[in-house]
């Protein structure tokens, strides 16, 4: 049942040490502000799930919050490596990182099955490659009608989903537009959720009859954090800051430069710093 909360309170209440957490976002609407709050609160031993772990996961891993990563593509899109992720895997810094590695199809199906209340998903995949050799969660199920062997994977059922969306109304109904990713599924698959939004409005605006809405009784904490996806973007509000993604390559390459950037820009700040990115860029329906 939705509760409108400040960010620090929402993260404190929803995310606990050792939890399995999915901060989702497929390029669009990545919950950076919420991720920073998790770092500030010093969570430890998290299992992080995400199809495309990028900068915010690099930061969480580099700051030592994470003991395991469940993922399908871990890079800085269009730029290159995630240096903190690589440092953790290749050198165990700041500590060892366990990996559970999937394909995108598997991850998307696992969220879908979680949202659908199923224990597993079946799909046509993982044929011939090496991933099933290094991931014991990949099994096979035989179709009882055709005899075809399909891939089977356990549903994702995170303790907490953390997403960012464009807007919520005062009751906590959340509306998402544009590149949708797996965020709706992540929230529906999770026990608890934190949804940061660009704005909380009195009522959801005029919308398509089939708009993507998470009704208030399916979400947990709803937090207004304008700009909270930066340097990712919020369709209708502000564009992706591609330059920051490029700059991150240099910031994160060395442990020292990473740590001093985190200290200055995350540990010493609060979610209000995101507001300057949250200016309205264009109207949503354009």
């Amino acid at each position: 049942m939705a509760r409108i909360s400040p960010l620090a309170e929402a993260i404190k209440s929803a995310v606990r040490d050792g939890d399995t957490v999915a901060l989702e976002g497929f390029t669009h609407l990545i919950p950076h502000a919420a991720g920073h709050e998790i770092i500030r609160q010093g969570r430890k031993g998290l299992t992080l799930i995400r199809m495309t772990p990028d900068l915010i996961y690099d930061q969480l891993i580099g700051m030592g919050c994470v003991s395991k990563l469940v993922f399908s593509w871990g890079g800085n899109p269009g730029v290159g490596s995630l240096h903190r992720l690589r440092d953790a895997i290749e050198n165990g810094w700041p500590h060892k990182l366990e990996l559970e590695e999937h394909s995108h199809a598997a991850m998307a199906n696992a969220y879908e099955a979680g949202a659908a209340g199923l224990p597993c998903a079946i799909f046509r995949g993982y044929i011939g490659g090496d991933l099933p050799k290094v991931n014991s969660k990949i099994k096979r199920v035989t179709c009882p009608f055709t005899g075809e062997e399909l891939a089977a994977i356990p549903a994702h059922r995170p303790d907490v989903a953390v997403i960012h969306a464009q807007r919520a109304d005062k009751a906590g109904n959340v509306m998402i537009e544009g590149v949708l990713g797996v965020q709706k599924e992540a929230v529906l698959a999770s026990k608890r959720s934190v949804v940061t939004v660009e704005e909380i409005v009195d009522e959801l605006p005029e919308r398509s009859l089939n708009a993507v809405v998470l009704p208030y009784w399916t979400v947990g904490h709803v937090v207004e954090v304008p700009g909270g996806a930066f340097p990712s973007y919020a369709q209708g509000y502000y564009p992706r800051n591609n330059n920051f993604y490029k700059e991150w390559d240099a910031i994160s390459r060395e442990r020292d430069s990473f740590l001093s950037w985190m200290k200055e820009n995350v540990l010493a700040k609060g979610p209000e710093v995101f507001a300057r990115y949250g200016r309205k860029h264009r109207v949503a329906a354009e």
């Binding site: 390029t27 593509w73 290749e90 199809a105 046509r124 991933l131």
Partner: protein, 257 residues
């Protein structure tokens, strides 16, 4: 003849392989440049799909990421990622899938996972992303990769996505009904699978490139087809459109900052 870079030749050769009625699953980088170059030249109605869910998108600039707002705004619609992988990719609705990788072998199997052992990697790469199922669900696969001894290898450190497996009918024997890699476009040449062995074989050499250069930049003894063509060099129009696309993209990314 216009002056051009090997990289430009690679993108242009890939674009030429695409047809107006193709439905393509587009990856970021070279594939995205090639697909949009095709759209802006000889294939204006080509259908481009990015795994972020954007269907039939017509970006004016190249996206940096797979889900840039530009892709969504110019698409006919945008579906969720589970729907993309279930109804569109697995549903068999994609004709051509584009892939690249850090390593490729002579049967066009790809590695985008690790260099070195999986548990103790020398270089940890981003991972498979959509590739394992793109490789088996799309009607056919085009691969774009610049050649080099570190990337064109005799044996992959890890098979992220399959091509023709161990050659011959080994792919079909796994139950896969799609064609797999039908073209490998490099900065030096165009490879296609031998009809029987399925080994990727040079069928066309880019203008100004020698057989020796191709061999020097491959980690296995390269096969050449009986008749090897010379890839026509880029036309001025192809180069102009490609360069303007990159310039427009760079201006837009700089402005947005």
């Amino acid at each position: 003849m216009a002056d051009f870079k090997p990289n430009e030749m690679m993108t242009i050769a890939a674009a030429r392989a695409l047809k107006n009625d193709d439905v393509c699953f587009v990856g970021i980088g070279q594939p995205s440049a090639a697909c949009n170059l095709a759209r802006l030249t000889h294939a204006p109605n080509i259908t481009l799909i990015y795994e972020s869910g954007t269907l039939a998108t017509k970006p004016n600039i190249l996206p940096l990421s797979i889900g840039d707002g530009e892709l969504c705004e110019t698409a006919i619609t945008t579906v969720s990622v589970p729907e993309m992988f279930r109804y569109w990719l697995q549903g068999g609705r994609i004709k051509v899938g584009f892939l690249g990788g850090a390593q490729i072998d002579k049967y066009a199997n790809l590695n985008t996972t690790v260099v070195g052992p999986y548990d103790k990697p020398k270089v940890r790469l981003p991972g498979g992303g959509g590739a394992p199922e793109i490789a088996t669900s799309c009607g056919e696969i085009f691969i774009i990769m610049a050649q080099g001894k570190r990337s064109f290898v005799d044996k992959l450190d890890f098979v992220t996505s399959i091509g023709h497996v161990s050659g011959g009918d080994s792919r079909a024997k796994l139950g896969v009904k799609t064609k797999g890699p039908t073209k490998l476009i490099t900065d030096l040449a165009l490879f296609e699978p031998d009809p029987n062995t399925k080994e990727m074989t040079v069928v066309s050499i880019h203008s100004g490139v020698t057989r020796e250069q191709i061999q020097e930049n491959s980690g296995w003894p390269v096969k050449f087809a009986v008749k090897v063509a010379e890839t026509p060099p880029p036309t001025q129009r192809e180069l102009d459109v490609l360069r303007e696309l990159h310039a427009r993209t760079n201006r837009a990314h700089a402005e947005a900052a």
